[in-house]
């Protein structure tokens, strides 16, 4: 009797504690959202209470002043292009690396990829910037897409290769006997089987590219090519006193990421727990 009551009390505290932690973890987003909905006057007198009037002008003005749709377009173009490039070329590379695991050459390439994941962007920053200048790729969305993709190759190959190793070879051997070439075998048989890991790599890369600041702040300096994080960075610097406006822009740029996360959560979690994620 006593014991079961003690157990119930323990369970009660356990439940309270875990919900409390969950709420604390997302509470900073509450700040962003209510700041975005308050006028400057209201922010001056009350910061954390719910807004008395919903001040939507922050959003309409923020969109205009920060050139939001241009940044959204740039972010969308760069993220989707780089994600597509990475998915196509890295899945092919991973396939051949996984299948040629007795070849010295392919094994060394794989080893170099693994080692390269530790390389900090700063160690290639200066030479890369100079090269991009020379190639006319500074202030160009394509320049950013190529540099960012290059930087993500190692990580993407690593998660996909692990998965390909678990696909049995028998299927391809059957196709080989039928006389299908490597490309046809790959696109018709192997690629469809890779769907779960492809989803994972797409989501993780998309999040990473969408949120990138370090590489984009180096390459995309002109206002017309700024992505969302860059726009936030510069807009915030200029609107330190217009908090509502700045946070409205933040909230808007959070929406795509959160939508992606909530709808494809399963793939993010499985990608991380496959133990290969070493961004």
């Amino acid at each position: 009797m006593m014991k079961s009551r003690g157990k119930n009390v323990g369970k009660f505290f356990h439940t309270i504690l875990k919900w409390l932690i969950g709420i604390i973890c997302i509470s900073p987003m509450y700040v962003a959202i209510i700041y975005s909905l308050k006028s400057k006057q209201e922010l001056a007198v009350n910061r954390f209470a719910l807004p008395e009037v919903l001040y939507w002008e922050n959003f309409s003005q923020g969109i205009v002043q920060s050139n939001f749709f241009n940044a959204l377009k740039n972010s969308f173009i760069t993220t989707s292009l780089a994600t597509i490039i990475l998915t196509v070329i890295c899945s092919m590379a991973s396939y051949i690396i996984a299948r040629k695991n007795n070849s010295k050459f392919y094994n060394s390439v794989y080893f170099i990829f693994v080692a390269a994941m530790i390389i900090p962007f700063q160690s290639i920053l200066t030479p890369l910037y100079i090269n991009l200048l020379r190639w006319g790729l500074v202030n160009s969305l394509i320049g950013f897409v190529l540099a960012k993709s290059g930087f993500q190759v190692a990580f993407t190959v690593l998660i996909i290769t692990g998965f390909v190793k678990s696909i049995p070879r028998e299927l391809e051997e059957a196709a080989n006997i039928d006389g299908a070439g490597l490309y046809r075998t790959y696109w018709q048989i192997i690629f469809p089987l890779m769907k779960p890991v492809i989803f994972t790599s797409v989501v993780l890369n998309a999040l990473n590219i969408w949120n990138d600041f370090q590489i984009s702040v180096t390459i995309l300096q002109k206002q017309s090519v700024r992505t969302l994080p860059l726009t936030q960075y510069f807009f915030f610097g200029e609107n330190n006193s217009e908090l509502g406006l700045a946070f409205a822009v933040f909230v808007l740029s959070m929406i795509p990421v959160l939508t992606l996360y909530l709808s494809l959560q399963k793939y993010i979690i499985s990608g991380i727990t496959s133990g290969a994620v070493k961004g």
Binding site: K100, A116, Q122, Y129
Partner: protein
Amino acid sequence: MKKKSIVEFSFLFPALALFILFVLYPFIEGIPISFTNWDGLSDNVKYVGFRNYVRMFSDRHFVNATSNTLIFMVIEVVFSNLLGLFFALLIAKPSRSNNIIRTMIFTPFCLSLLLSAYVWKYIYSDFFYGVLGIPSPLGDKKWVMAGLANIAVWRDAGYCMVVYIAAIQGISKEYYEVGDIEGCNIIQRFRYITLPMIGPAITANVTLLLSWGMKVFDYPMAATSGGPGRSSETVAMLIYGNLFTYFKAGYGQAIAIVFTISIFLLSFIVSYNLRKREVEL
């Protein structure tokens, strides 16, 4: 036969080419730059031997940036992992409510580092100071790195948690049954069953967060711009500044090389030691 190997190589080629062009080639190009006095702009380049490498160790800005980065990294690694493990133990059992809580705790990880930094800047100044009366750590030279690291912990503890949950769920029930027969209490269960079994997850999380912590750039750029003074300038920021602000590209590149080697060595030593302990535990 030969045709076959060309076809095979064509699968690897695009990825390899992109990697070489935008990562490996610039990395190698950086080595000679680090031995020059180049300013990053002019054609006037002179080789100065190891002078850049010698100079940084008596450069107080480099020493300052290194110690800031290390403080940040240690707090980030220790607290993200401790909290992540604690959260994982609380909600490892699969259930509807635990799934919702997991989603909540992991959400910050999806936001950009920049956004995290800005939101926290105002939580510190408006909530901690405005409501609780605790001064913002970001305005205090002594506390600024801890304040920044706290943002990273908020964002990355959820990541660690997800990895630990998977590791805990992978432990066979039989171990716990044996533990119950032996009369283990909850602490003994954790110490002698859970902890040894999640060793590989600890190694993975610590090594990964170590490299994230060392590379810290976005948080101080957004929340403090390296201030107050230069008390939150990190190594990554110093290298960036040497190219774009101080016009000492050669010197910055030498720092970048030392920085890369240090991260390699540190990751290697830490993961080697953790792996060795995995067996002993």
